[in-house]
Amino acid sequence: MKINTTYEEKTCTLTVEGSIDALTAPELEQAVNTAAPQCEKMIIDMTDVDYISSAGLRAVVGANHKVGKGNLAVRGLSTNVYEIFRMTGFTKYLNIE
């Protein structure tokens, strides 16, 4: 998994590539923890994410906690990933772009 974080004014964008699973989720949590203090709004771009497990979902929930509810947006969900979000009710809980 690769994560590229970019900052634009008070919005930070985390572009993730690869699988977000139990092994890689800590990396995402780390990246979120690093970026969160420097921005008010956070975008996680998952255009190139082909797999996410519950560990990945927990990292996303953690990011939501960090930036405060309503300040996190998730973007670019592939069919497989969107299906996981939908089944777990995350599509209602999070801002999906």
Partner: protein
């Protein structure tokens, strides 16, 4: 005078003995009776002399000089009376009277007339009878004979026809002659038609035998080789076809499959087809690759092809060990592989066989995994027409094949065939329709992984799942389940590191994931979170289990021999 006769007659009756004539000189006298007697004698004499009453009458009437004859016609009598004065000698004033009764004469006359009339009637009747016989002989008889002959000719043909002999009027003999000519012609036509029919039946019977021989050259329509399930279908448009299919398991376990379409139709195409089947089968068993088979096949055909026919054919050899399909194409339409998507095999496409000597063909490859289907067909499929004259088309074929992939059916050939039959219903079949499918049977395989309860071991499980022949979608489900369950075990089963056994089993229809650990008893299948009422802010557990079991097609848990045994099942083709 007639009054006189009347009176005399009256006197004869009333006074027969009164002397009416007295000869004073000789003192002779005549009584009335005597007078009557003499008169009757004279009349009798006259009659005997041949005097006819009418003649007499006429001569009396016509002879104006003779005033002595009178016709008396009164209420008393209808009589001719003659008085003759006696002359000569010395007797004077002597009267001789004669009388003829007209009614008596008329009676005689009437009798004669009656006889004549009877004679005339008799003759007329005789003539009528003769005429009727003639009519009967000349008209009615011939008409009856002709009618009977016609009837027997129409209704009793088996009896055969005897020439019609008719004697009668010209019209009838002419009619009989025409009828004879007509029946002769009809008989000839009928025997011609019967001969043609017999010939046709013989030909049909021979074609039927030819067809049976031809179909007998083809392999069964269904074979299970163990590693593959092969189905074939062929329906010749005419009695014998120019299409062929062939498959066989080669000595080394590889499977040879071919489909071909000979140019032209009928007997010549069928013979060429029979020759081709034999050749292909022979070359296939010599251990050649499809390209080598085609090259040899082509060279042989070119030298043994006086009819100038050619054949388009696609040849494939599948190796069950490696899953690799090698193929080569001689001008045949592109076959398909039904895998995760529809793949058209367009590589290694050369010219039709039988045309150019020394033609070199090439091999191409594609790897097939369990559940993949190779679909071969001839243009009788895509060029089949419906009643509106529209083609079934490759587009529709591809659509239907894609639908087969989506439905995960193993009955691809039957699905295409029923769609094709629905499309062409009521239309005439123009070309042979031939199809062959080779479905790679997913084998029952089981991979057993013995791992330590450490999360990085997850990589090993993922790799093993990736190596299965499951569809990408199914692999994703298994990988997710494996991660969620394995991570749970790693996190909670043991206080320190323990052992975890993971089994990944697949067969034709399903996949099975099993986790066995010797840690604390824990049933992950119970108390799944309610997603509709989930507290994302505070509770963030159970999502993995929820996802795992929701996405599976079945699961079971048991604690046996101090081991947690969890099994999760997935169906193929969903």
């Amino acid at each position: 005078m007639s009054e006189l006769i009347c009176r005399i007659n009256e006197k004869i009756k009333s006074e027969p003995d009164f002397s009416v004539i007295v000869d004073q000189g000789e003192n002779n006298s005549f009584t009335y009776a005597q007078l009557d007697l003499y008169a009757r004698r004279i009349a009798g004499k006259l009659r005997r002399m041949g005097v006819q009453p009418r003649d007499f009458y006429h001569s009396v009437l016509n002879d104006t000089s003779n005033k002595h004859f009178r016709h008396v016609n009164s209420k008393y009598a209808d009589t001719l009376i003659s008085y003759l004065p006696r002359t000569g000698g010395n007797v004077k004033d002597e009267i001789v009277a004669a009388e003829v009764s007209i009614s008596a004469v008329m009676k005689q006359l009437n009798r004669a007339f009656g006889i004549t009339a009877l004679m005339v009637i008799f003759l007329t009747v005789v003539m009528l009878v003769i005429f009727a016989i003639i009519i009967h002989k000349r008209v009615q008889n011939p008409a009856k004979i002709i009618s009977q002959k016609m009837s027997s000719f129409v209704h009793d043909r088996k009896k055969g026809y005897e020439k019609l002999e008719v004697k009668g009027s010209k019209e009838f003999t002419d009619m009989a002659d025409s009828f004879n000519i007509m029946t002769g012609e009809i008989d000839r036509y009928i025997s011609d038609i019967e001969a043609l029919n017999l010939e046709k039946h013989t030909r049909e019977a021979e074609l039927n035998i030819a067809r049976n021989i031809q179909m007998g050259l083809l392999r069964p329509t269904h074979t299970d080789t163990g590693s593959a399930d092969i189905r074939a279908y062929m329906l010749p448009a005419k009695d014998v076809g120019g299409d062929l299919y062939e498959y066989r398991v080669l000595g080394d376990g590889r499977i040879f499959a071919a489909i071909a379409d000979v140019s032209g139709k009928g007997i010549s195409a069928a013979l060429f087809m029979a020759h081709s089947v034999t050749l292909l089968s022979q070359y296939a068993q010599m251990g050649h690759t499809p390209a080598q088979i085609l090259t040899a096949f082509n060279d042989t055909l070119v030298t043994q092809n006086p009819g100038g026919l050619f054949i388009t054919t696609f040849i494939a050899i599948w190796n069950p060990e490696s899953g690799r399909l090698t193929y080569s194409n001689a001008g045949h339409n592109f076959p398909y592989v039904l895998s995760d998507a529809l793949v058209r095999l367009e590589e290694a496409h050369g010219v039709a066989a039988g045309l150019f000597e020394g033609e070199q063909y090439e091999d191409a490859f594609i790897d097939l995994k369990g559940g993949d289907i190779l679909f071969l067909y001839t243009d009788g499929v895509n060029e089949a027409k419906n009643t509106d004259g529209k083609f079934y088309s490759t587009e529709r074929l591809e659509e239907k094949l894609t639908a087969c992939i989506d439905s995960g059916t193993s009955e691809t050939l039957n699905d295409i065939l029923s769609d094709l039959n629905g499309f062409t219903e009521g239309a005439e079949q123009n070309d042979d329709i031939t199809m062959l499918t080779l479905r790679v049977k997913p084998q029952r395989t089981e991979k057993v992984l013995r791992l330590s309860s450490e999360i990085p071991q997850l990589v090993i499980i993922k790799e093993a799942i990736e190596k299965t022949d499951l569809s990408d979608r199914l692999k994703n489900k298994l990988i997710l389940a494996a991660e969620e369950m394995f991570v749970n075990i790693c996190s909670y089963a043991y206080d320190t590191v323990g052992e975890v056994e993971v089994r990944i089993a697949t067969d034709q229809s399903m996949a099975e994931l099993t986790f066995i650990d010797g840690g604390k008893p824990f049933d992950p299948t119970v108390e799944l979170p309610d997603i509709d009422d989930y507290d994302y802010e505070n509770t963030i557990g159970g999502l993995g289990r929820f996802l795992t079991f929701t996405m599976s097609d079945g699961y079971s848990y048991e604690y046996r021999d101090e081991k947690n045994i969890l099994t999760i099942i997935y169906k193929r083709g969903d």
